[in-house]
Symmetry: C2
Subunit: 685 residues, 2 copies
Amino acid sequence: MRLSALALLLALPVLRADEGMWTFDNPPTRKIQAKYGWAPDRAWLNHVRLSAVRFPEGSGSFVSRDGLVLTNHHVGHHWTQSVSDAQHDYVKNGFMAASREQEIRVPGLVLLTLLEMENVTDRIDQAVPPGADEQAAARARSAALETLAKEQSAKTGLDCQPVSLYQGGQVWIYRYKKHTDVRLVMSPEYGVAQFGRDWDNFSWPRQDLDFSLFRVYEDGRPYVPAHHLAWSSRGIHYGDLTFTVGHPGHTSRLETLAQMEARRDVTNPIRVRSLERGRAALHAFAAKGEEQARLVSDQLMGIENSYKEVVGETDGLRDKVAMARVAMLEKELRAQVEVNPGLKTLAGQSWTRIEEALVQQKAIAGEAFLAGSFRGDLLHTALSLHHYAEEMVKPAEQRSQMYQGEQALAVLRGRLMGERPMDAERESVALQSLMASVLQELGADHPITQSLLRGKSPEAATKELLAASRIADPSVRRAMVEGDPRGILESADPALVLARRLSPRLEEVQKRQQALQSVITENLTRIAKARFAVYGTSTYPDATFTLRLSYGSIETYPLSGTLAQPFTTFAGMYDRAAAWGPEAEAGSWELPARWIERRDKLNLFTPYNFISSNDITGGNSGSPVVDKRGELVGLAFDGNIESNAGRFYFDARMNRCIALDARAIVEALDKVYDAKHLVAELTGK
Amino acid sequence: MRLSALALLLALPVLRADEGMWTFDNPPTRKIQAKYGWAPDRAWLNHVRLSAVRFPEGSGSFVSRDGLVLTNHHVGHHWTQSVSDAQHDYVKNGFMAASREQEIRVPGLVLLTLLEMENVTDRIDQAVPPGADEQAAARARSAALETLAKEQSAKTGLDCQPVSLYQGGQVWIYRYKKHTDVRLVMSPEYGVAQFGRDWDNFSWPRQDLDFSLFRVYEDGRPYVPAHHLAWSSRGIHYGDLTFTVGHPGHTSRLETLAQMEARRDVTNPIRVRSLERGRAALHAFAAKGEEQARLVSDQLMGIENSYKEVVGETDGLRDKVAMARVAMLEKELRAQVEVNPGLKTLAGQSWTRIEEALVQQKAIAGEAFLAGSFRGDLLHTALSLHHYAEEMVKPAEQRSQMYQGEQALAVLRGRLMGERPMDAERESVALQSLMASVLQELGADHPITQSLLRGKSPEAATKELLAASRIADPSVRRAMVEGDPRGILESADPALVLARRLSPRLEEVQKRQQALQSVITENLTRIAKARFAVYGTSTYPDATFTLRLSYGSIETYPLSGTLAQPFTTFAGMYDRAAAWGPEAEAGSWELPARWIERRDKLNLFTPYNFISSNDITGGNSGSPVVDKRGELVGLAFDGNIESNAGRFYFDARMNRCIALDARAIVEALDKVYDAKHLVAELTGK
């Protein structure tokens, strides 16, 4: 039926959403079966689990019997950079080992395979002495778990790690095989792996060849994994069932509605305003000339990306349908807690307690945010010097942890004296922007504002302070740090005078903020426990950077007045490159020379990137996308911008995983990189 | 500077926006010069004006010395259909005249060229007798203008039409040359002209070959226009200055802020809810089976498009930045009116008067909307029969205009008796949806709700009414219409009983609504007059489907977390076709066979569609896009979905004109349609 899809997407409630990051001991087989008429069995699950690997900051999988590992270019980026040098920029220019001898060992890179999982909840519970109070119980549990993990590591030779799921509702030991000899095999040029650069980050349609290949070695020979994913010869199609197997990093889906509303209405808007001010200041600075623009371009890039993220998240928190669902689930849980005496005692008050704490947090939100904003500028330096001096005048044993021991102190002193160049203009931009923030967020009458501005405009106060203070000069700081700390505490330098005045207030705000936060954390844990008591494993735990399974299908969503296309092709990449030309936005859509030369060799209509309804988040980067057969059909590398609130909820209407199609990898290896040996190894042909 | 564009687009105030639909007597040359360092002169303006033509519902231009006219496929659609028959579906399959002999005359199609414009404001003012009151003055003006136009038409042989600009601030006579022998030359297949069908309507990036070619004849020979647009051999590039020359149909940019807010908060949400209910009902109906789905597919399509439009418009009216600008401009005008005694007397109270009328309109908005919703169903038929009978029992001279004269009565009777098939199921869906609307918008206690539902559910009330009423049967209606009208007024048919009960109430609501609307209209005219007195021709008049010039440049906008690409290419079309496959959504992205066969002959990276910051609206479809040289570089065919509030304001950050690139037309004619003769004629080679 024509037009039904958009209507259904927009109008109907989200039934049977493909939601969840499920642990392998508890896959949602009934849900999958009900929706897709098929569900994985134990052998399938073991196969994909044992084929998966964990990178230090992402996911990957074994894709050949000779230990080839597939992950994202952006997961491998750091490691590819680490084996590059001035002559060989493998990130920018790519890398291709023409033979195994050319594969480059990557020092420090360790990959993990999850061999075994053991639920030790009962055993750890038994470690709690009878009659122990809450704190003692927690200590006993923690100690028992640590001991157990160490014992197991020693006994098994595996890397045994404690895992806390459902906010402590379950405790597990996950036993990993460690791979310490990992070598770089292939990495495409940055310009095609991150086509569209940071502009296209989060966007769809997308055209990124975001993969790289490593190989695990053991005893100097390619490692033969017990399991690896076969390369699909069939490909994946619109509507097909898809799974991702990977390591989602962190979610906060159990936050209360009140917490999300506080983010939406108070703390996120403060962050947005701060980013907007920072951006405006940097733009004004950059507009002064080319050199100025160059000086702040990295800062601007960072701000733009943070802005995109926080605005996306806030938009998500404003989505009425999604938030109504959050509210409904909370209401249901509260009703369940209310009728169960034990749970009512445990968590009945927790939502209210959190709300009360939030009321207080909101009242100091501006101040708390600003207290954390004194960073990287003259004032931060002044505050650091002041703290240093305050600690140093105390007897050594009374100093706080950070100031204990000669080694720690040496590092600290080095940082304080550091010869880092302070660019006066850049400094002035940062300081002025901070002062404007203080004025806008706290108002002219606030003590912090008065200390900082003394009734002047941000411009005037900045100018005066920068003109009068000497601590921007590294030699001045060196003399202070090497001299008597009392000199700092009594200095007439206006930046230090200011630090002396601000310091107690800032500390007080931070302490209050932390106290409120601990109330929230405690009550959130209670709610989580209640939730686990009610729903048990019929739901999935928040992400913990441990192995999870998500299911979904190749599925469109409403985008810009139409339906998002489920796939892109290489033709779409060349279309976008031609649309912009190589010069636009500092070459953001410029293709590497090899890709221009080889264009006519490619089958331009090879499926390139696709979207699916799999529920993923940061850490899932590099996750294999597998089909019903357990074969590799794609490589997850991003979520669409509509998923930016995915930390708080999954919205089946709009949230999509973006993946690189396996067919594109083979086509590129074959036609662009002349890597027939890798194609043969991957496809087994 | 990397990343600056998005930041500037989002953060900075809209300075020197490319806004306005300017008349040719008053081009904004200083604004264009200031922003682009170049501005058109009188010769340039005359040339493009005399090359432009007006279609009955759109725009076009002469593009060859032999009278070829270029317009959009969707502007030509109706006329192409009108010369098609069962054997020759030129809309679906396209049409190509291989020679001039094969060009098909299109009966009824009249094109206009604007030869001369005369400002007759003073002359018409003189027609007002001294001391005439407002109404008499208006009558005298209107009569004088009509007489003048007729005189001029007779004298010049041209089609002389009165044009009221700036809400009556200026009155003009526009003198058009009429072209009545217009022949179809070339029209591409629907599947490529409207690639993506209604899904992609308003969306960007876009891939539509939305053009067709006609030829004007005179005395049986191709007409040689005094001016035609030369085909650019250079093409257009990112950042280049662009102009559109065409006939924007209607804008309401002088509505007050209060009016826009009333639309945003009250009337548009009512429309949205109504569309949502209608859609849900149709989907439920369509879900019953294939035949049911087929029955309502056209209605669903209509609803989906209305929904897209009204939601887009409402989103636009919710845009804080854009609405702040509307508010600022209104505040500025009100301040100017306040300090000018004459204007204060004229319009000083008008904003308040409109607000007061809006308060009353908002109170009856639901009822007024529903009163206009009794359409196309059993109840509408009953109401029509009832009105007919009410009028017919009066003496002929007392009947309202519609019921005067035998001819009018015959048409009316025919309509009432009409043999139109009433599908019972479809009827039931419509009626039930109406009853649900009444219940939701007016509440259970409202007299209209009580008359309709009599305490029952919409389902039950619908079922009862349909079961008991006989008027769905054409023979029953025929007997009623041909019999004594008193029979209708006394009929016990429950639909007619209902009509008798509802009719007075509905009439009363409509009368009240009209009375309030006339207060608003009167005060809006006063504001417009004040505005013209203050700003004169330093601004542009609202659109009136007369020839206008807009300027702009090829410019990106923020889209889906990144920057919208300024161009697409044929490769992008094939990419999207491959992404969806020919089956998806009833073939929405299926390409005509010829386009699949000829793919490899095309230069796939020919610029295909582009976006520019030109300010256009409905009626501009088919407008030529010309460059500084006055050469044709493109063909405007749509606005992006962000322009859906363009009726109320122009937002330079987001509103974009979507155009077909002239290079794509030539490439398609040459490589796909083998039309080398047309390529030669267009390019003059």
